[in-house]
């Protein structure tokens, strides 16, 4: 084990992201990194730390607060042959550049009849950390509803590395959702930490495959991102109530492993679909539909997701954002039903 490992290891998810970017930029000279505050500051979450010092300010640079212009620039640069990695500081800001995502990034490869490629990664921070409705969204389904972009959502340190490498090496545009708690938390303190050796060379993770995080015979909790970590805590709590909860990590919203979801769901009589994104017309519906059309009636399902915008006060946020406690509660309810 490396010297910084163990309980004194202060590394967070942001360190892992920065390390992957560093490694990949060494490997591939075409990679350029830009966005707001990614240069000298190294990102507001520190996920691009030291990159500018290492690679200079032509490969790593700050942009104006002009998301449309610089996301478009990433698209054009990708089409021209570079491999841009662009940061949207909080996913909530995607609205100001949404056309570039919806109509250009996602569609240019298809519309060109395959003649242009758009190999870029858009990294963006998601999730609730007490900052109200404009700084807490996930919007995973907003992206997933657009044909032509891949949407990856790591839940664990291992996937933060493996999926990021896969994203960078993909020839398609990838939206890479980094949960703020995963970026900010010390890895050693995470409920589920699979980064035993965060210094080992990174292997690209398989994109488009769900992952079973935990076996369980009473209920399967299907979730993504930070909700997977919360589900791990919930499962432990359920265990004390003699309920055996399995956990399935979605990992990749697009492509979505619909078969995998259905076969995993078959392992228990009930499935609880958990999401931190808004419930309506989102991931919970897509997952339930994917299961229902494959194994109709075989599994009793319920969903547990955000059903309003995020309120500012923490006492209110706790009411609406799913957490370990609320997941355990909903699982029990589903089992009782």
């Amino acid at each position: 084990m490396c010297e910084s490992a163990g309980a004194s290891d202060r590394r967070t998810g942001a360190h892992l992201v920065a390390a992957v970017l560093m490694e990949e930029m060494r490997r591939d000279e075409g990679i350029v990194v830009f966005g707001e505050d990614v240069g000298a500051l190294g990102g507001v979450f520190g996920a691009t730390r030291r990159l500018q010092r290492e690679f200079g300010d032509t490969r790593v640079f700050d942009t104006p607060i002009s998301e449309t212009a610089f996301v478009g620039m990433a698209i054009g640069a990708a089409q021209a042959g570079l491999r841009p990695i662009v940061e949207i500081m909080f996913v909530d800001f995607i609205g100001v550049c949404f056309d570039q995502v919806l109509n250009q990034m996602a569609k240019n490869h298809y519309m060109s009849g395959g003649r242009v490629r758009v190999p870029l990664v858009m990294r963006t921070a998601v999730g609730s950390i007490g900052s109200a409705a404009q700084h807490s969204q996930v919007l995973s389904a907003t992206f997933a509803h657009i044909p032509g972009i891949k949407v990856l959502f790591p839940a664990t340190p291992g996937d933060l590395r493996g999926l990021l490498v896969a994203a960078i090496r993909s020839d398609d545009p990838v939206v890479f959702l980094e949960h703020k708690w995963l970026l900010k938390s010390r890895l050693v303190e995470l409920p589920f930490n699979d980064a035993d050796s965060p210094d080992s060379p990174v292997e690209p993770a398989a994109v488009g495959k769900v992952r079973r995080i935990r076996d369980g015979s009473d209920v399967t909790i299907i979730a993504s991102g930070w909700m997977v970590q919360q589900a791990v805590v919930a499962a432990r709590e359920l265990e004390t109530a003699d309920i055996s909860a399995g956990i399935v990590d979605i990992r990749s919203l697009v492509p979505l492993d619909r078969e995998g979801l259905a076969s995993e769901a078959l392992r228990a009589p009930c499935a609880l679909i958990v999401d931190e994104d808004f419930a309506g017309f989102g991931t919970t519906g897509e997952v339930m539909a994917s299961i229902a059309e494959r194994i109709p009636g075989e599994v009793r399902m319920a969903r547990h997701a955000l059903d309003v915008s995020q309120p500012a006060a923490l006492v209110l946020e706790e009411q609406v954002v799913p957490s370990a406690r609320s997941i355990a509660l909903q699982a029990k309810r589903l089992l009782r039903a």
Binding site: D37, G39, P64, I65, S131, A312, L314, V315, L316
Partner: protein, 314 residues
């Protein structure tokens, strides 16, 4: 022009409010991001004289000072910041303060307030003539498409609208020279919008700019632009380590460009003794701590509030 006492009082009130909020972040009473206006007080203090109740103001992620001068109740606002059942029942918080009575609002999305401000201005133009709208933006926001579009729209529709750019030379860590081409004040020119640039810790310069721009907008129902140069005394948000700004730059600014020191100097210049100032400090201090106390005495929002109010109907 505000008297030295008025200016000092106003700036001090703002300073103490922001400092108190900063403390509440440190003690964990406030969660989430917090952007304070310390160092930028004089701009709002001077603007206050020119604002009328029928005017509207749309502010940014750094909104408290604008809210104060626009007449938002400080206790209600503080209660909202302190995650109590305040101005917006705890659902808006620091970056999303809405007060329809004071015609004040703000948004946490950089640049996105400007178009909304144009809507208030349209309302003023069509049915509440004489009123105007202020859209506040940082200099970083001046690179956001929404702001440009709104300048053109306001010009072409002759909307009574003042664009106030508080230029503190940084958008988070990014210095203006790395993000912003040309001269900010000239950005109106392409739309035929007159601009005033001024030092944001020079009361007289601010007064000239505000009186001229507000008068122009009110009289001709057309947009104007003010760019006021200030320094942000805190990190971008509370907790920001702020390593990206040179120590020397900060020291110089803290010494020379502190609105409170400048206002205090004027007060001294106007013949105020140290004792009188100390007494005034005490008075304003009590006033502001009363605000905090009143805000803290309000209850937390009822948990049921969280799921209320997605729609009016239904």
């Amino acid at each position: 022009m505000l008297t030295p006492r008025q200016l000092y009082e106003t700036v001090l009130r703002m300073r103490l409010l922001e400092e108190g909020v900063g403390v509440a972040v440190q003690t964990g009473e406030i969660h989430g991001e917090m952007h304070l206006g310390i160092g930028q007080e004089m701009v709002s203090a001077v603007m206050g004289q020119y604002l009328q109740p029928r005017d509207a103001l749309v502010s940014t992620h750094r909104p408290h000072l604008h809210a104060l001068v626009k007449g938002v109740d400080p206790v209600q606002m503080l209660a909202e910041l302190l995650e109590r059942d305040g101005l917006n029942h705890g659902k808006g918080g620091h970056m999303h303060l809405f007060d329809p009575v004071a015609s004040f609002m703000c948004t946490g999305i950089v640049g996105s307030g400007a178009p909304i401000a144009a809507g208030y201005a349209l309302h003023r133009k069509l049915v509440a003539q004489g009123g105007l709208t202020v859209a506040v933006v940082g200099e970083g926001a001046m690179n956001q498409g929404a702001v440009f579009e709104t300048m053109n729209l306001a010009a072409v529709l002759s909307l009574p609208m003042v664009f106030l750019c508080e230029n503190n030379d940084y958008g988070i860590s990014v210095p203006r020279r790395l993000s912003t081409a040309g001269q900010l004040v000239e950005r109106g020119a392409g739309f035929g919008i007159n601009g005033w640039e001024c030092d944001g810790v020079d009361q007289r310069a601010l007064d000239e700019a505000f009186s001229a721009a507000f008068a122009d907008t009110r009289k001709h129902s057309r947009p104007t632009l003010i760019v006021a140069h200030v320094y942000r005394f805190r990190g971008h948000y509370e907790g920001d380590t702020d390593h990206y700004r040179p120590a020397e730059e900060k020291e110089t600014a803290f010494r020379d460009r502190d609105p409170l020191l400048v206002a205090r100097r004027d007060l001294v210049g106007a013949g105020w003794s140290d004792e009188r100032i100390v007494a005034l400090d005490g008075e304003i201090g009590r006033e502001v701590s009363d605000w905090f106390e009143a805000a803290r005495s309000l209850p937390f929002p009822d948990p049921s509030e969280a799921r209320r109010g997605t729609f009016v109907d239904v």
